[in-house]
């Protein structure tokens, strides 16, 4: 699939280190190279501290690389994001503004884009309906449950009509039943919208369920292995088992690697 579709995101020999307050340097990304095709769903698994969140920061233009480059649609990230709302992020915590209603929270990205109030509120309400919160449009975050807040968070990411959504452990903080429902709702919405998404997750099953391809990262971030997930694999226990053990194997390899490097 990735061969036929055009490349959406290209990460080439990306490098990123941090100088800590103590003076020591921490390597977050080490020679990371991979492509993501248009409309592809890529799941990233890897040890904690592997620089996955830092990679997302770089994709959003919030941090810049020390070396290598990231291009989206063939242009540098900085240029791609100049038109706002093309790439959105869903965080692990809902990160809603507590003084805004669900509608105004969902409309936040549109507001930043400069969409007029009436229009952005209308679109926000549509997205709230799409995530099943049609009757909670005027609720404050403090009046919503954790699952409802995360639905609002998802609606907020979709509302700007992004070409790419980055999910950073977006379902990890929820109970398993809520997480299951949100995952399937998210997948349905993503398919409807024709978009590309990258999801960082610690759950191998989630990676298999949402991803069309799974990247296994080592720490510091580099590509250790990748696995294509065949269509419908998550419905076949045998397939799930096979992919799961393959990922486990590569994670354990990358883990040993990291500990010897440290």
């Amino acid at each position: 699939m990735s061969e036929q579709s055009p490349v959406k995101i290209r990460v080439e020999k990306a490098k990123k280190s941090f100088i800590q307050k103590s003076g020591g340097a921490v390597e977050a990304i080490r020679e990371l190279t991979f492509d993501v095709a248009d409309n592809e769903y890529v799941a990233i698994v890897g040890p904690t501290g592997a620089g996955k969140s830092v990679l997302f920061d770089c994709l959003l233009g919030l941090k810049s690389l020390d070396g290598g480059r990231i291009t989206i649609d063939g242009e540098p990230v900085e240029k791609f994001i100049r038109k706002k709302g093309r790439i959105a992020r869903i965080f692990q915590e809902d990160r809603l503004l507590p003084w805004l209603t669900a509608t105004d929270n969902v409309a936040l990205g549109l507001q930043i884009q400069g969409v007029p109030e009436a229009e952005r509120r209308e679109r926000a309400r549509e997205w709230l309906r799409a995530v099943g919160l049609g009757t909670f449009t005027e609720a404050l975050p403090s009046e919503m449950s954790g699952g409802m807040r995360q639905r609002t968070n998802i609606a907020r990411a979709f509302a700007t009509g992004p070409e790419i959504i980055l999910l950073d452990e977006a379902f990890s903080a929820l109970d398993e039943i809520t997480a299951m429902r949100l995952r399937s709702d998210f997948r349905a919405l993503a398919r409807r919208q024709k978009m590309t998404f990258l999801i960082v997750t610690h759950s191998i099953d989630e990676a298999i369920y949402l991803g069309t391809r799974i990247l296994v990262f080592g720490a510091p971030a580099r590509l250790v292995h990748q696995i294509a997930v065949p269509e419908g694999a998550s419905d076949s226990p045998a397939e799930v088992d096979r992919i799961r053990s393959e990922i486990r194997h590569w994670i354990s390899v990358s883990g040993r690697d990291a500990s010897t490097a440290a």
Partner: protein, 268 residues
């Protein structure tokens, strides 16, 4: 514990209400009784009776000539508190947002904070001839540092995660300030305002002693000259009452503006 409270029949809930009311007034009642007792044993110049004080309060409230003096003083307080917000909020924001502004402004604010109120009074007497300017200057000097530091704390306590979220959507600096920073910092500005009301009521009279021919300061001066303790106390009680009312006013406004915070205290 709470199970018992829920199951409690109405009469006992009523009694709990009464007990709470009693608790609220008890300290004042004891104070009043002690005062009234003292007034029986000491001359009125030291301990005027509660009745006398009450009579004086009534006189003040019903005599426009006196009431207007009070209103002038409160207008000065309000003006100074508002002006301190206008000056202190930008200073606090700048300190919170820019390292350079913080490095530069912090020593100045700390310096101003260290100057005693009475020293300001003497300084303004030498600097300015306009009485209103003198009073406003003293009060603003005492209030601005509090506003600035409160707002600074507000900026520093913004959740880094919310900042990242807003920036992820491509917010410009101005949008960040308008959408995240200011709504968040507003509650700190309210705190500063409440602190400054207390601050202003405690120092406005000192400031008025710089030669104001109107205001409570002058009224107190007159009362002092004839040793009218009842009148002094009447003005004092009125000022305390006004300070409390102003604080309640600010709190009411706060509840409207910051409705999203809801009621933190369980008042049931």
């Amino acid at each position: 514990m709470s199970d018992i409270a829920v199951a409690a029949p109405a009469p006992s809930r009523l009694r709990r209400g009464a007990v709470r009311a009693l608790k609220a007034v008890a300290p004042f009642a004891v104070l009043a009784i002690a005062w009234q007792t003292a007034s029986l044993f000491f001359p009125p110049i030291l301990f005027p009776s509660l009745g006398d004080i009450a009579k004086n309060i009534l006189t003040i409230l019903t005599t426009w000539d006196m009431l207007s003096q009070g209103l002038i003083t409160f207008a000065r307080m309000m003006f100074a508190v508002m002006l301190s917000l206008l000056i202190g909020v930008p200073i606090g924001l700048a300190m919170g947002l820019w390292r350079g502004a913080d490095d530069f402004l912090r020593p100045i604010i700390k310096f101003i904070m260290g100057v005693p109120a009475l020293n300001w009074v003497i300084i303004v007497v030498i600097w300015f001839s306009n009485v209103e300017l003198r009073i406003a200057f003293v009060l603003v000097m005492l209030c601005v540092p509090i506003t600035a530091f409160c707002v600074y704390d507000g900026v520093r306590s913004i959740d880094r995660k919310l900042t990242d979220m807003v920036l992820s959507f491509g917010a410009s600096r101005a949008q960040y300030i308008r959408l995240l920073l200011w709504p968040f910092v507003k509650s700190f500005a309210f705190t500063a305002t409440k602190l400054n009301i207390g601050n202003a009521v405690r120092t406005v009279i000192v400031a008025e002693l710089v030669g104001a021919s109107f205001g409570i300061g002058r009224e107190l001066d007159l009362a002092k000259n004839v040793f009218d303790m009842a009148m002094v106390l009447a003005w004092t009680l009125i000022m305390v009452a006004v300070a409390i009312m102003m604080t309640h006013g600010v709190e009411a406004l706060e509840r409207i503006v910051l409705r999203w915070r809801g009621d933190h205290h369980d008042r049931t």
